[in-house]
Amino acid sequence: MSEICFKYISKSFDEITVLKDINIEVKSGELFTFLGPSGCGKTTLLRILAGFEKPDSGTVEINNEDITNLIPEKRSISMVFQNYALFPHMNVFENVGYGLRIQGVNDKKVKSKVAYLLKMLRLESFHQRDINELSGGEQQRVAIARALAVDPKVLLLDEPLSNLDAKLRDETRVELRVLQNNLGISTIFVTHDQQEAMSISDRVAVFNEGRVMQTGSPEDIYNYPENEFVATFIGESNLIDKEFFASFALGQIKAEKVCIRPQDIKICDNGEFLGKIVNIDFKGSSVNYHCNVDQVAVKVMQVNSGTINIFKPGELVKLSIDKKAIKKLR
């Protein structure tokens, strides 16, 4: 098991800063996620760890050993690429066994290791299949088997679920988490999907414009966003500026801006302020209301128990905020 440490990593391409002073520690056996919108620098950081890019400054350490200038093949890090990068001129068996053959492992051991991995990933009958005969999900599992075959110290997953359909993505996410838990291998997962990050990770680093905006467990990130970017990027939120606090009966709070999740605003008879319903978004398990409170647009979420009264656009409703759920932003 390996501990990974990024220290003051900066990287620019053609004078455009992609990463700025990144400091992250990934603990042994942890599944750590780099989360952020496209172009925020998360994949570049992953490629720096894999050795495909060199940082302009800073160091990368694995188990306190500086690997910044080590060539990719000496790092003992395996990566599953977004498009899997399975070698098209090799079949499933040859793809999975490739790394072992490079290491000079004998045929017998290659066969048994590949067979073990393919069985573990439910691909027993796929040994001789060509890559272009596999579905997206099967290709993804072959890519994972290939990455695991060389017993890497660290496993990197670069948006590996993005090419799968919604149902398969959910199933594979669970499988991936179970596999990682069983193997206990330090894993870095890159995604722009905040729900995916929340459900799979031990800890998450939220990236924006080449900087880490917040690091913490999924619960911490969701419940205690430290800034406006994290508050809006992770889950739905209502951001309310100080000048409108009075309209929401928040006059006593000392902050410049607060974040309130839609589910923390209740529609109730004894609500403290009034809102006008502008639009309704029926989701099945919940009903999302878009309301207007003193010219400020807010979202309100009501759990649909099946017995609730669903309001109509134009109706006035009384609203109340759970004070404990208010997040003060910097």
Partner: protein
């Protein structure tokens, strides 16, 4: 020395070598030839050669004829190629796959073989001409297979391929939802054809026209063997060379090259505009049923007639290779068949020598062209700087040099010892044809290699390194196996092109390197058509075997 320094040193040497080869064998010969057209005996610069060219009716007529042949060839090839593309790919028709294979086959067959086969069939003593004369009891053959229309006939049935391939691709890229929406809005079949289909295939037709025009104006074997005195620039060049008027030959070369370069420049501009679609997602094209039975019969009849005209020369080559030439001089059809021609070719060293020469020269040329193409593609893709862009431009330049032009350019440049060749001359040596074959094919080989290299997904390289493979192991086990199809295709095209090359060979061959294409024509002139056809069959068999082996080694991915 560090790894980075070693890499820089290797790249520097590569740059030097490639530029040396391009300068010595492409830039220098062209500039030298141009120089010879503007320099007088006293050493002063003058345009007298150009004014002489334009003051001689024979030259201006040859230029006019060349342009006329180019234009009419384009129109005829357009009619055949576009019609056949629609017949095979647009309409639901019979035998479409077989017809497609036949139509594409002429792309790989050397032109001179087809021309010779046409002569055997349609000339005054040709089998079909004599057959028609005999059947209809005519005093003379019903047509003269010579001059302008003879050339056009040969060009039409051998150069339609660009129109056929490009229009077929355009039809495959046709967004069927556009047709459906037009029909939904009430457009008739004719209206759909005029407003949707024609605009869609227009870029394909335009680029095909330019490619065909460039090919037709530089054509040599058809005007030389079928033209019978019809002057074109390519034949005039040979005439001037044979009369030892090298200054005039060089002037004709430069004028033909200017026309060719302008055509290729327009082609390059328009080729970038092909096959665009307005839809985000293209709906696959569905072939259309011909509902009117009369049109259906007419289309099928016309298509089968074209196929017959294309296939009959090939059948003729095979049959006549077994014919006893002496028996066939007296009769319309050969009456005695045997393996004598094959026995002669394979047992008599003198007759077999041209085949050996061609096999060896084509192989060496293909290897050299492939190595240069690999190095060039690597540099162009790896570096985006002035030198790499210059290299890219220079490697495309030979595409605009007609073969007859190249022959003269090489004679005028390498007929004496040159410092750039370490005080050696090339004319009269075995290697001059190898060099010429490399220059003729380098663009096509480079494009094939470049396409393969540029489509290589770099993530394969990262994945391999990531799994512990070194750069060299990655190159050997991942990069080359994946790009090999492009490299092999380029190699095969160069090999096939060189094997039957006639034009440049006619200008440059000598005692030690007489190629099979020259031997074929010589045999024909010696009234030994059987041997000529046997040579043709050997080239076709070697080519097809070669391509089949390559196809077998390919693994689709």
């Amino acid at each position: 020395m560090t790894g980075v320094k070693t890499k820089k040193a290797i790249n520097f040497v590569l740059y030097i070598l490639l530029f040396y080869l391009i300068i010595v064998f492409i830039i220098y010969p062209i500039t030298n030839t141009f120089w010879q057209t503007i320099i007088t005996g006293s050493g002063s610069v003058s345009l007298v050669n150009y004014s002489t060219f334009f003051s001689m009716p024979v030259n201006t007529q040859a230029l006019k004829n060349t342009l006329s042949v180019g234009l009419v060839t384009v129109l005829c090839c357009m009619a055949v190629g576009v019609f056949m593309a629609f017949f095979v790919h647009y309409y639901k028709t019979s035998f479409d796959k077989t017809i497609n294979t036949i139509l594409l086959s002429s792309f790989i067959l050397p032109g001179v073989i087809i021309v010779i086969a046409f002569i055997q069939l349609y000339s005054e003593t040709g089998i079909i001409s004599q057959f028609l004369k005999h059947i209809f009891d005519l005093e003379d053959v019903p047509f003269r297979f010579s001059g302008f229309w003879g050339i056009i006939f040969v060009h039409t049935l051998t150069q339609y391929v660009f129109f056929y391939i490009n229009t077929s691709i355009a039809i495959k890229y046709l967004d069927y939802s556009l047709i459906e929406s037009a029909r939904g809005l009430g457009a008739s079949g004719f209206k759909v054809f005029k407003d949707i289909i024609i605009p869609h295939i227009k870029p394909a037709i335009l680029t095909s026209s330019l490619m065909t025009f460039a090919l037709a104006i530089s054509s040599f074997s058809a005007p030389y063997l079928v033209g019978r005195g019809y002057r074109m620039m390519s034949t005039q060049i040979l005439q001037s060379k044979m009369n030892n008027q090298m200054a005039m030959a060089s002037t004709q070369v430069i004028i033909l090259m200017i026309v060719s370069v302008i055509t290729m420049m327009i082609y390059t501009y328009y080729s970038k505009k092909q096959f665009s679609s307005s839809s985000a997602k293209i709906k696959k094209f569905k072939r259309v049923e011909i509902e009117n039975p009369f049109i259906k019969v007419a289309f099928h009849s016309l298509a089968f007639m074209i196929i017959f005209l294309i296939v009959i020369p090939l059948v003729g080559i095979f049959l006549l290779s077994f014919a006893d030439s002496s028996s066939w001089m007296m009769e319309i059809f050969p009456t005695r068949f045997s393996f004598d021609n094959y026995t002669k070719v394979f047992t008599q060293g003198r007759i077999l020598a041209p085949v050996k020469n061609s096999l060896v020269m084509s192989l060496i040329a293909s290897i050299v062209a492939t190595v240069i193409a690999i190095a060039t593609s690597y540099i162009i893709l790896k570096y985006n700087n002035f030198l790499s862009r210059l290299l890219n431009f220079f490697i495309l330049l030979p595409m605009a040099i007609p073969a007859s032009t190249l022959g003269i350019v090489m004679i005028t440049t390498f007929n004496e010892k040159r410092l750039l060749l370490f005080n050696n001359s090339l004319v009269g040596t075995f290697s001059i044809l190898v060099v010429a074959y490399v220059i003729l094919s380098i663009t096509i080989v480079s494009r094939s290699t470049y396409t393969a290299f540029s489509s290589f997904n770099r993530e394969y390289e990262f994945a391999s390194r990531n799994l512990g493979a070194s750069k060299f192991q990655t190159l050997r086990k991942i990069f080359f196996p994946i790009v090999s199809i492009g490299i092999i295709n380029g190699f095969a095209l160069c090999y096939m092109r060189s094997l039957g090359e006639y034009t440049v060979s006619a200008l440059l061959y000598g005692v030690f390197n007489k190629p099979v294409s020259i031997a074929m024509v010589n045999a024909l002139h010696d009234f030994d058509a059987g041997i000529s056809m046997t040579y043709g069959v050997i080239i076709i068999i070697v080519g097809i075997t070669f391509l089949s082996l390559i196809n077998l080694s390919e693994k689709p991915f």
